[in-house]
Amino acid sequence: MQLIRIIGLNLFLAALFLFLSLLFFSDYTLTKEIFQSKVKQEHQQRLLPAFENIIDKTYPNTFVFANEIKNSIEEHNSAARNQQQWDQVIYDDYVGTLTKASTQGIVVDYTLLLFLLIFGGGTLGALLFILPKIGIEVPGIKNNNIFHDALNNRGWIGILLGTLLISFYILLYFYDAYVTNWIILVEPLKKLINPNGDSSQWFLYGFLYTFAVIVMGIRMLIKYRHSNYQMVRTASVMFFQLAIAFLLPEILVRINQPYFDFKNMWPLDYDFFDAWHINMLTQSDGSVGLFMFVWGITLFVVGVPVFVYFFGKRWYCSWVCGCGGLAETAGDSFRQLSDKSLKAWKVERWLIHAVLIFAVVMTGAVLYNFITGTNSIFGIDTYTYLRKPYGFFVGAIFSGVVGTGFYPLMGNRVWCRFGCPLAAYLGFVQRFKSRFRITTNGGQCISCGNCSTYCEMGIDVRWYAQRGQNIVRSSCVGCGVCSSVCPRGVLNLEVKEEEDRFGKPILIGNNGISLQK
């Protein structure tokens, strides 16, 4: 059994290594034909002089090639700017498209084979590593050696993985031309789902994301196979990621409907009210787009308060949400790294509410622009001063680079805890108007601290449990792991009448003793 696991691990690592090294596999030749087919007619003439040196020359790697393209366009643009010929400046992003079209070599020739080797081999390896646990370990909480492990306790593997993830996000968001080989790699899948579509960095990201949720979801299902709550919840996030977030939007596009993720909502989906998005939905053929628009609004106006009232914010954060889905599957191994200090809680409250305010202000401005047909508010350009910084700092850096890249360093819910404006909104409702709470069981707490240690949101659960008080915190995503790891059966996620939800701090014990707050 252990041998099978070792083979599986090596297979997985081999697939990962192949995947990473793929970035260096191709060479690049921009032919005249490609140039003519990918560059707009009106740009061709303008760009040709700058591209003279590139065309028909073969480059050994994407970094040199993509930079060359970028510089050539920039060369043209700065010349145009110098001559104050503003209409000559080209804003189209040709770097990615030209790089993709100019790629040659095994990635293009054997795309499907490589796809199967990497993702088939990776899945097989991961499953060989994960599945034998069923035979080796009896069901139950198995957190042995987590803090002795270089992956789970910010050791060298953790730091290496963090570096990889952070680099991945930076490439994906800001240098997508460099990952062209990966974009090409997932092309066969894209064509399978949507024969007329082209793979992009976002399709690549969506696929890798879903792949991680599914494979690591299987790991989660096995790890918590003694707990029905954890199994049902994990199956739920796997389903929503695969079916609703990944496949359904692609299928919608295939049948000529707008791309739409039915489970995403404002303010997490921060450009929902951007003019282009509203127009896309409301001006699409048929009524589906309109339905999507109404659905999107109903979800956060009605869905959030009603569902949070009855179930707590967990209905979204740890059952439905994609960010939560990744955190609860791929991120499970890092939940113990969240900071539980009071100081971290203070930072959390400032930060998350600041992001919420930012999102609300931005959306207000965007809606004002949409209604009035303007581009600015109070003389401030909305794109430059609100949408762009939000997209960059919150959308890309915070939720992506930090939110996921820092899993192995700061735990799996950095974004959800410190940054997500939707989590802040759901949290308000959970804190002030909900039937949900984590109940503490009488006087049975032994202050061991497993609950706090494994709380991914950094809630000091023990602080409440050891004084016999219910836990009602806006940040709690209801993952239920505190209850699972408790060795004394002290904690339970419950929905009951609102009255006395916070509970008086009471420890059952000596006659006549009750605690003062």
Binding site: N144, G443, I508
Partner: protein, 434 residues
């Protein structure tokens, strides 16, 4: 302003300090030579097993004590001078007090076995024991644990997490059968074996053998079997830590003797927690109770007394809990190892052999007296109410779903349990689950 000094920073000592602070602005000092800050002793095993870091075992952050004006002194008290209300510390420091609270806990028992002081032989109680266990278990292959109780099974689980083979010597017929009724003891014994522990029942330790370098080489059992091992865990109970009180004038027997206000024979000296021996009877309770919860409760009680509202230590119905590998155990009320003559019992076991419930009630009055539950979490509040309210066994069974504390989507066993009860007691009135 009065000087209150507490010896011991375990759950008892820390609880009394916190509760005094809630009620008064007196000076509070806690002295401990174990660790600088309070940690949860019950979590030591998780540190060894890598579930937690030592820092995670501290229930309060380090700034907490200063903020709440509780002075911490990291020193060892060598002697108590009750004539002059002064403590003599190892460092040479003298600390005076107006009120002294002894919360010194206990220490692992050693029963004079040959070889018990060899390197590699240890108990598990303190932070130092944990460090010692790290050291003693480094690179070893085999360990023997002596004593079938809660610490013994924890130690076994700890060692297994490092792939160290464990032989477990238990004096009784089944694991912990001096506390658990035989059905449960057997269930746990079987479960222990399923974890590949060599459980040797009705076997005691005769001697521990030296490898010639002062280290343990093997042990010899009462059945004259020699077992090679590099670590011996002695987990045959604990005794109050009272050695330093010898010439203090504070009366002790096995523990520090206290009245119902947890006061010793010296007026301004109190004692709480593991180190205490009660001089008065409480029905269904032993005079020395070394569990987390009693330490905590005594701390709460004595804080009231010291702050001007004298309160008797009258713990409510007994409760306790533990975890045997993956099987959680909770108990409420009194379930003895032996059924008393006036009692009846009903035992239900799930086919998985990982869940069980054992109900005890008074035969004549039908009043429910206690329950052991394995693998099913129960609501403390409900059982506390039912025990205090002297509810009948049928009331308890009918309301069992209300007391279920398992997570959502867990399998519910109450119908099966009540059916089994009706089958076993066909003449009792039929039950309808509430």
């Amino acid at each position: 302003m009065s000087n209150i000094v507490i010896i011991g920073n375990g759950i008892a000592g820390v609880t009394v300090a916190r509760h005094i602070r809630k009620r008064s602005s007196d000076n509070i000092t806690i002295i401990s030579s174990e660790t600088e800050y309070f940690f949860s002793r019950t979590a030591l095993m998780y540190v060894y097993m890598g579930h937690m870091k030592f820092d995670n075992t501290k229930p309060y952050e380090d700034w907490f004590w200063k903020k709440n004006k509780i002075d911490l002194v990291y020193d060892h008290v060598n002697a108590v001078d009750t004539q002059n209300d002064t403590l003599l510390c190892r460092s040479g420091k003298k600390i005076t007090y107006d009120t002294l609270i002894l919360a010194t806990g206990s220490q692992p028992n050693k029963f004079g076995w040959p070889g018990q002081d060899l390197e590699g032989v240890q108990g598990l109680y303190s932070y130092q024991d944990l460090q010692l266990m790290e050291q003693n278990s480094k690179g070893i292959k085999k360990a023997v644990i002596v004593g079938g109780g809660l610490i013994g099974i924890e130690m076994a689980e700890m060692l297994l997490s490092r792939n160290i083979e464990v032989t477990f010597l238990v004096r009784e017929k089944e694991f912990w059968s001096n506390v658990l009724p035989v059905q449960e003891a057997k269930l746990i014994s079987d479960y222990v074996r399923s974890h590949h522990i060599d459980l040797k029942l009705e076997t005691e330790l005769l001697s521990i053998e030296d490898n010639g370098e002062g280290k343990v080489k093997s042990i010899i059992t009462s059945k004259n079997e020699s077992i090679d091992c590099q670590l011996v865990g002695l987990t045959v109970g604990v005794s109050p830590s009272i050695g330093f009180l010898k010439d203090s004038g504070i009366k002790t027997n096995r523990g520090i003797l206290v009245n119902e206000f947890l006061q010793t024979n010296i007026g301004n000296v109190y004692a709480i927690g593991d180190c205490v021996e009660r001089t008065y009877e409480l029905s269904g309770r032993r005079n020395i109770e070394q569990v987390w919860y009693t330490g905590r409760m005594m701390g709460e009680v004595v804080a009231q007394t010291i702050c001007g509202s004298p309160t008797r230590y009258e713990p409510g119905p007994w409760f306790n809990s533990a975890k045997f590998f993956d099987i959680e155990y909770q108990t409420y009320g009194n379930v003895g190892a032996q059924l008393n003559a006036n009692e009846s019992e009903f035992y239900w076991e799930h086919s998985s052999k990982k869940k069980a419930m054992h109900f005890i009630w008074d035969t004549a009055s039908q009043v429910f007296v206690g329950i052991n539950s394995f693998g099913i979490r129960l609501r403390h509040e409900k059982f506390d109410q039912w025990l205090r309210g002297k509810q009948s066994i049928s009331y308890v069974l009918e309301h069992l779903p209300e007391a279920n504390f398992d997570p959502e989507f867990s399998h519910k066993h109450e119908p099966e349990i009540t059916q089994a009860f009706e089958k076993q007691f066909p003449h009792s009135p039929s039950l309808s689950l509430k």
